[in-house]
Point group: C2
Chain length 313, copies 2
Amino acid sequence: MAASKMTAFGDRLSAAVRRTGNPVCVGLDPRWEQLPEALAAPVDSNDRTRCASAYVQFCRGVVDVVGGLVPVVKPQVAFFEQLGPAGMQALAETIAYARAAGLLVIVDGKRNDIGSTAEAYADAFLGADSPWGGDALTVSPYLGDDSLSPFVDVAVQRDAGLFVLAKTSNPGGGQFQDLACDERPLYVHVAEHIERLAAAHVGSCGYGPIGAVVGATYPQQMVDLRCIMPHAWLLVPGYGSQGATARDVAPAFDSNGLGAIVNNSRGIIFAQRRKEYSDKFAGGRWQEAIEAATREMIAHLRAETSAGKLSPN
Amino acid sequence: MAASKMTAFGDRLSAAVRRTGNPVCVGLDPRWEQLPEALAAPVDSNDRTRCASAYVQFCRGVVDVVGGLVPVVKPQVAFFEQLGPAGMQALAETIAYARAAGLLVIVDGKRNDIGSTAEAYADAFLGADSPWGGDALTVSPYLGDDSLSPFVDVAVQRDAGLFVLAKTSNPGGGQFQDLACDERPLYVHVAEHIERLAAAHVGSCGYGPIGAVVGATYPQQMVDLRCIMPHAWLLVPGYGSQGATARDVAPAFDSNGLGAIVNNSRGIIFAQRRKEYSDKFAGGRWQEAIEAATREMIAHLRAETSAGKLSPN
């Protein structure tokens, strides 16, 4: 599995954000019931192989639009897994297509297991030469340090990245994450560990390859978490459909407009279904809706956060 | 996705344990470097499709031996994912083969995500008619209640089961799980939540469809956790290769020999590599080693735990 030496993931992400002039991550969450009619209508939804082909067609269509606009996409494994083996083939094709379009790909799988099994997950997902070919993977911290270290080792070795769940964007995320342990919430303990991992492998951009998932739906905690993890890229979900605005995510960035990428899934890929776009981009014009929504999100983030200091694309 | 009404998962598991007279769960963890030589030697390890076929052949070989002996198998998704899409096809074939052999199948994926995505994972894995066709799935609790409830809803609806991580078997599992939150360790908070979910759907056997993963490597905590979760089946990893003995897992059982299943992966499926079997079952006799190791584990559990009260198979 030898790979030619590239650049550490933190620096690659930094370069991609600078090149595109924005920190938008487009979530590739192909939900069958929201697919553009032109793609879904001809397919029998009980035929998983044909549904999977429609997913590939859809995701390629998204990548064709956003490939020149944003630095990163994030396929959500759950929606591909929902179609069984055919869906996983579609995931592999989607990742390969996105990478070929010059996008960084964060595989959103929230994987983890005990050490020797974690190593198998890391080997599966991290790096261009891995079976799935992701640039980075989301992982869960519940199993502790010795479940994270195999991921870290593989990530560092292959110039890939990790985003460890710290504070998730869902309303119930606080049930365990906010529990006060030794006077600090659990998510702070997790964040302190992520910072140690990130700081141990800092690249020239000032950030390491190990980042954190920090939901945009908790702006106050985001302020704290940015301070606790000065060397960790933050992957920020919760923008748009989940309710967070550009102003809410501003604390995730450093003063140079780096340090955070902001994910939007439904609000971009299913933009045609948003009321402000449904008339304007009716029928087969779903890709135009995606482009408009992407440009709108870029503009809002550049207006309301330090990402506005990046040179525009 | 309509399925004919079966029996709730907790009761199905109870019936399977009673029928076989033991609580052994065989972990299907096909690690390439440990595969029997007869299966691995003819295959170029860079050819993922052929490796995946060898995994299917191996797992079928395991099922052929243990199908009549034990109630449950637990394929570990990581090792199949490590082979990319071909590996996932092998996983589907392995699950189908094990179910056809009358085994219950716990898919060990430790999945989770925010609500609407959790629903996709649940739909993917739970129930005979699902794309992967698992009887149960392991899930992670870090994202809290609203990430677990979609799994619970689908599990109840499809007579499938869940095993939520409470206390994992790895040495570093305590880093976060043992943190004292409001005077109780985090894993106790998680266990209390699991008990609520289990108790809400108790079947005629006294256990619900929502169980807990509780590592055998922490016997004292197992005593506490059995008390905290009287309605939850415990899935107990850590036996054998990870160091726990039959005596260590005794507290996981109720007085009737129910309430727990004990997993063993490497110690059974790669039994031929154990020093006590390597001479006796050399060469092509790997299935005989698996049978001997399975019977040995059954005997130890029946001798040292209340599982001895079950009628022998």
